[in-house]
């Protein structure tokens, strides 16, 4: 009797163990296709809200998990150069010097969406947006125009009564793609700016206060009557900030919006050579409907992928992003690529080569 019981127990134990083995087998196979992280990326904070939506939707439909650290464009470029991530992301194109230092060889710039920079200001009791030209903006941000009632501003705004108050310039204190786009625009449109201040993620501002982040600039402008600053379009729209209309290259005064930013990209794309590497600036773009202070944001990938499986996943994801992904952009206030351009960028993805896995 006792021996029988023991045998029964042993049988049970064996059965359970087998069951466990089966379970763990299925569990581990799911983990490899769904549970673990397949691709890692790092870089720009500006497109992060859109990218994180892309990654979660893409994981939902294909099971490919992408882990992205929004540590800033500089960090993204550094990590890609060191080869610690599968892709980087940046709001400003890499310089030739930075590209030459990358350990994994040539890097492709894949434009994903567009961002724009708007001028926000705090002048009470205005019925319509202030109109500004590149020259006026440069004069304000370099301290040559110090009062709102300056004729160089009032002549552009005959319908507005502007107060005789001091202008307080607020700029970003942290290194930022937003500053790069803004100073790139002023450098392109105003020669004097290019030689005096120049362009960069941080520049030596002749006047004004530095505030950290879009929220810092917007907060300072909101609190200080007479203040003027620049922030991302998406941030300005989500917080309903007053934004200036800018005179574009065609001489038309235009407000920033998703369509006017995409129009700028479309107009700039027409002038592109067929073999462009997309490290291009589209500020001060031609075209009557183009908003002049806009720019691409890029995903950076190595042209030679050393891990064929990962490389395949990366190409598939980028193809998805440039097709389905683009439609997600406007609701989040990012401007999608013009459709012709998205097609030619996708064609460029085919130049990525997948070395045989070692």
């Amino acid at each position: 009797m006792r021996a029988l019981k023991l045998a029964a127990l042993m049988l049970l134990a064996v059965a359970c163990a087998k069951e466990d083995a089966n379970n763990s087998g299925t569990a581990s196979s799911t983990a490899s296709s769904h549970g673990s992280v397949d691709l890692t990326g790092a870089g720009a904070t500006f497109p992060y809200p859109l990218y994180s939506k892309w990654f979660s939707e893409y994981a939902g439909s294909t099971g490919v998990k992408i882990n992205y650290q929004s540590i800033g464009s500089g960090g993204g470029i550094r990590q890609l150069s060191e080869g610690t991530v599968d892709f980087g992301a940046s709001d400003s194109p890499m310089s030739d010097e930075e590209m030459s230092k990358a350990k994994g060889g040539p890097i492709l710039h894949i434009p994903t969406v567009l961002g724009a920079v708007v001028i926000t200001y705090n002048v009470p009791r205005l019925s319509v947006p202030i109109n500004l030209t590149a020259k006026t903006i440069a004069d304000i941000f370099s301290g040559r125009i110090t009062k709102w009632s300056d004729t160089r501003i009032t002549s552009l705004n005959p319908v507005l009564t502007l107060p005789n108050t001091d202008i307080l310039v607020v700029h970003r204190s942290d290194g930022s793609g937003t500053t790069y786009i803004f100073t790139d625009y002023l450098s392109t449109a105003v020669p004097a700016w290019a030689t005096s201040v120049g362009k960069g993620k941080e520049v030596k501002w002749p006047v004004g206060l530095g505030a950290k982040g879009n929220e810092g600039v917007a907060g300072q402008v909101k609190q200080t009557p007479g203040a003027i600053g620049y922030v991302e379009l998406a941030y300005a729209k989500q917080n309903s900030l007053a934004t200036a209309a800018i005179t574009n290259k065609a001489g038309k005064t235009i407000l920033a919006s998703v369509p006017s930013v995409t129009a700028a990209a479309a107009a700039a794309a027409k002038a592109l050579p067929a073999n462009t590497d997309y490290r291009i600036s589209i500020v001060n773009a031609p075209g009557a409907d183009s908003y002049p202070i806009s720019s691409f944001t890029w995903i950076l990938v190595y042209q030679h992928q050393t891990d064929a499986a990962k490389g395949r996943k990366l190409i598939d994801f980028l193809n998805w992003a440039l097709t389905e992904g683009e439609a997600e952009a406007p609701p989040l206030d990012y401007a999608p690529l013009p459709s012709a351009m998205a097609a030619s960028v996708k064609a460029r993805l085919t130049t990525i080569d997948l070395a045989a896995s070692k």
Partner: protein, 324 residues
């Protein structure tokens, strides 16, 4: 019987101790030794890493990192003198405001406060140290800066006519050296007051009774018998607060205006070394720029070391002068 030589006795005792010590004692000793060695090793490795990363900038730019005022990343100029200046001035402003307040709080709590009030007030003051610095920054933006801009700055500059001096002249936008100094004062205050309170409470009763017995009033007792006794501890507390002020980053970045310029006026915006690093590090890709930021970190490291050394020397010299 002849006495055993002293060193024999000593040897016996040592052997006895070794026999008595169990294995657990050895382990305990090893563990604590390891703890004691790990921390200094950490400090040294941090210093080595910072100076190694900063070396290219020091080699290329030399002392101009701390003497030049031209910080222009695009142009390749890295002169952080305004940030060094801002760190020192904002911390000095903080101490000027915080020290009397904190010592006042400490004297009240140790000498005058009814017993039932001592605990809650002491607790609330200590609680200031527990608030995250980004919360101080937000409070600074939404409460402190409007208050300074609308009331305090015009009062100092116009009503008191301090605008005639260079220290309070110029327009008042809000974000400024003064705003940073005030927020740093609030942040340093709990450190100074907590230490001062403890050392004041530790002054022996006999010290107070002796002063009173000589006919001193209460204020004279505190001034002549209690505070001198506690002086070295209070200085230690002030230095602890200064250390807090020198290294604070987030709240200062949000309130100082981040302008790399040396201005005599406290109403003007400024910059500090910690906020310079916090602002630019994440987007820095150029090697010299990164190295220059590390060099600024190294300078900040050296300044805090100097402050600590001065603090120790002050505490030591005050203690010695009392002993004599």
């Amino acid at each position: 019987m002849t006495a055993l030589p002293a060193h024999w006795l000593d040897k016996d005792r040592r052997e006895l101790r070794l026999k008595e010590s169990a294995a657990s004692d050895r382990i305990y000793e090893l563990l604590t030794t390891a703890c004691a060695l790990v921390v200094p090793a950490l400090v040294v490795s941090i210093a080595v890493a910072i100076f190694a990363a900063a070396w290219p900038a020091f080699a290329k730019l030399g002392l101009s990192i701390v003497t030049s005022s031209n910080w222009d990343v695009a142009g390749g100029h890295f002169g952080a003198a305004p940030a060094v200046f801002g760190t020192l001035v904002s911390s000095a402003v903080a101490l000027v405001i915080a020290t009397p307040l904190a010592i006042g709080v400490a004297i009240f709590l140790s000498e005058f406060s009814p017993v039932w009030l001592r605990q809650p007030v002491g607790f609330l003051v200590d609680l200031l140290a527990a608030i995250p610095s980004v919360v101080y920054g937000l409070w600074g933006i939404f409460v402190l800066i409007p208050l300074l801009r609308e009331h305090v700055m015009p009062f100092l500059r116009d009503t008191l006519h301090l605008g005639a001096t260079p220290f309070f002249s110029g327009p008042a936008y809000g974000p400024s050296m003064l705003a940073a100094g005030v927020i740093l004062a609030i942040m340093a205050l709990p450190y100074i007051s907590a230490v001062s309170r403890e050392v004041l409470m530790a002054v022996p009763r006999s010290q107070r009774e002796a002063a009173l017995a000589l006919g001193a009033t209460r204020w004279e007792m505190i001034r002549d018998a209690v505070i001198p006794y506690a002086r070295s501890g209070i200085i230690g507390g002030i230095m602890l607060g200064l250390g807090r002020a020198l290294g604070e980053t987030m709240a200062v970045t949000m309130l100082i205006g981040n302008r790399p310029e040396i201005s005599a006026s406290l109403l003007a915006p400024g910059y500090t070394m910690a906020s310079l690093i916090a602002n630019e590090f994440s987007e820095a890709t150029n090697d010299l720029h990164l190295s220059a930021l590390m060099a600024v970190g190294a300078v900040l490291f050296i300044i805090t070391l100097i402050v600590n050394a001065v603090a120790r020397w002050l505490v030591w010299s005050v203690a010695r002068s009392r002993a004599q």
